[in-house]
């Protein structure tokens, strides 16, 4: 990146493609032999299918799963929908005539994919228990223990929050769910490839993630499905029998091969990248101190390495973004919802006021971020905040916080 290109601190919205992923995707796009339909029985079809199976093994490898536990989808949103709607509806219909259990446990800090899937369940007659985080953005295993009921059909929680980066103790919750024989779905879109994630723990029935948060292409994701006991799922889509009947449609070879390589690369880089990125994040937080008064949304730890959510007293979010535009690419709230203007429900759940929320930015760091970029980004941010504060009404620093 030249000094002219904006500094990209929006990895949590989407990470740039790793050049090695681009290279293998190019190969797939340019090699005629690999462009057949992987469902076709002829030689080029089988060649494509065998590349897809290799990718499935790479994707599975990143979370310590066997390849046949992976169902490919169009992204984490679809994985999350398939897991939540699929598992809850299957449980409801398991005893015939919709008489199965209808209680579902989730939280107030889920990504919209999880939140809106659960809301749909409410419309379908399920009873939802929405766990409340503490002021630091944490959901505790004890809360899940208290929420479980004999008729709980599903627990669905995210591993790392996409706005604050705060991490939930999934291992403890998985143990609970295993003991109580409740299916647990984990939205791991923000943690896979950034923290060690292993589905070996028996309590995890379903786990969702996608390629574009870890250097792979947009438009492709995975749902892990425990093999034994295999959670029952009602598909969202029908036709064609691909992916064990759970997800029909022609498999996009180039996308899946890119996903596979991205997972392989993430796995081998994890031990070095995670601490490097964590150090960069704390360096950024320190370098922002001259913009005081400011605060951090969500506890610093436990967290994924790359996310820092900061609020700047007295700042108006839209003006701050325009001030930074073209120089720093960051999100106010989650990128997924930053097209809409409503304040982040996640930060609301942490108890932040709407004024504090609109004054907050999510800064997220990734594989290509350098210390020099961090320092330059901090200088830009401090200058921007200071400029906007120059003309602030008297008393605004206290009220907008």
């Amino acid at each position: 990146m030249t000094d002219e290109a904006p500094i990209y601190l929006d990895y949590a919205a989407s990470a740039p493609l790793d050049p090695r992923v681009v290279a293998v995707m190019r190969e797939c796009l340019e090699d005629r032999e690999l462009q057949a339909n992987p469902a076709s029985a002829h030689e080029p079809g089988r060649a494509a299918a065998s590349r897809i199976e290799a990718a499935r093994a790479q994707v599975a490898g990143l979370i310590g799963a066997p390849p046949d536990a992976i169902v490919f989808t169009s992204g984490a949103t679809e994985s999350v929908n398939l897991a939540i709607l699929g598992a809850a509806r299957a449980a409801r219909d398991a005893r015939g005539a919709s008489r199965g259990p209808r209680h579902v446990v989730s939280s107030r800090i889920e990504h919209r994919a999880g939140r809106d899937s659960c809301r749909q369940l409410e419309r379908e007659g399920f009873e939802l228990c929405w766990l409340q985080p503490d002021a630091g953005g944490r959901i505790e295993a004890g809360q899940v223990a208290d929420a479980l009921r004999p008729d709980t059909a599903l627990v669905s929680l995210m591993h790392a929050n996409n706005e604050t980066g705060v991490v939930t103790d999934i291992a403890a919750i998985a143990a609970l769910c295993a003991e109580r024989e409740v299916a647990l779905h984990v939205d791991a879109a923000q943690s896979v490839g950034k923290l060690p994630v292993a589905v070996a723990a028996p309590g995890i029935a379903l786990l969702s993630f996608c390629a574009h948060k870890l250097g792979g292409p947009k438009g492709v994701g995975a749902l892990y499905l425990r093999r034994r006991p295999r959670p029952a799922l009602q598909p969202l889509q029908f036709g064609g029998g691909h992916e064990d009947g759970l997800r029909p449609g022609t498999l996009p070879t180039h996308q899946l091969v890119g996903f596979g390589v991205a997972c392989e690369l993430a796995r081998s880089a994890l031990a070095i990248e995670a601490p490097r990125i964590r150090v960069l994040r704390e360096r950024l937080w320190q370098a922002l101190q001259p913009a005081m008064p400011l605060w951090r949304n969500g506890v610093p730890e436990p967290s994924v390495p790359g996310i820092l959510n900061v609020g700047f007293a007295g700042v108006e979010g839209e003006s701050l973004l325009l001030e930074l535009d073209g120089r720093l690419a960051v999100s106010s709230g989650a990128a997924c919802s930053s097209a809409s203007a409503e304040p982040s429900t996640v930060l609301r759940a942490l108890g932040r006021s709407d004024l504090a929320i609109q004054a907050s930015l999510r800064l997220s760091i990734g594989r290509e971020t350098t210390a020099a970029e961090i320092d330059r980004a901090a200088r830009l941010l401090v200058a921007a905040v200071r400029r906007l504060r120059q003309a602030l009404p008297v008393g605004a620093l206290e009220r907008i916080a």
Binding site: E316, S319, L392, P393, R399
Partner: protein, 131 residues
């Protein structure tokens, strides 16, 4: 979706970048009037102050918390009253601010905050003058 439509007019961008009429007022002779309006839930808080000299608004400045359109409108409103006789000065109407600056419809409430703050300023100025 209309990703290609510019989000801010050139005027707004220019005013936002320069923030002309930003408080504090330059030092000078005369009394200082002020006016304020705010609707934080709507996203705007504006304070105006003006130096009054010889029955006129000699200069006007703003402090504001708000989006780029709000800041630009505050600056524009200051320019509009400078030089006017206090007796006949009028706040730029929200609708006119919105039109000139191509403010999106959902932000009209913020323009009203700017207009209200200016009304308050002018009222204060008149009160000071009549004292």
């Amino acid at each position: 979706m209309s990703a290609d439509a510019p989000r801010y007019s050139t005027d707004v961008l220019d005013l936002f970048r320069r923030l002309p009429h930003r408080a504090p007022l330059a030092a000078g002779a005369g009394t200082v009037a002020s006016g304020e309006a705010l609707a934080l839930e709507r996203g705007a808080w504006v304070q105006f102050e003006a130096r009054l000299d010889g029955g006129r608004v000699a200069s006007c400045a703003f402090r504001a918390w708000g989006c780029p359109h709000t800041l630009a409108a505050a600056a524009r409103a200051c320019a509009a009253v400078e030089g006017l006789a206090i007796a006949s000065a009028a706040a730029m109407p929200a609708r006119q601010l919105a039109e000139e600056l191509e403010v999106p419809r959902h932000k009209l409430g913020r323009m009203l905050v700017v207009e209200d703050a200016m009304h308050a300023l002018i009222a204060h100025a008149r009160a000071l003058q009549s004292r």
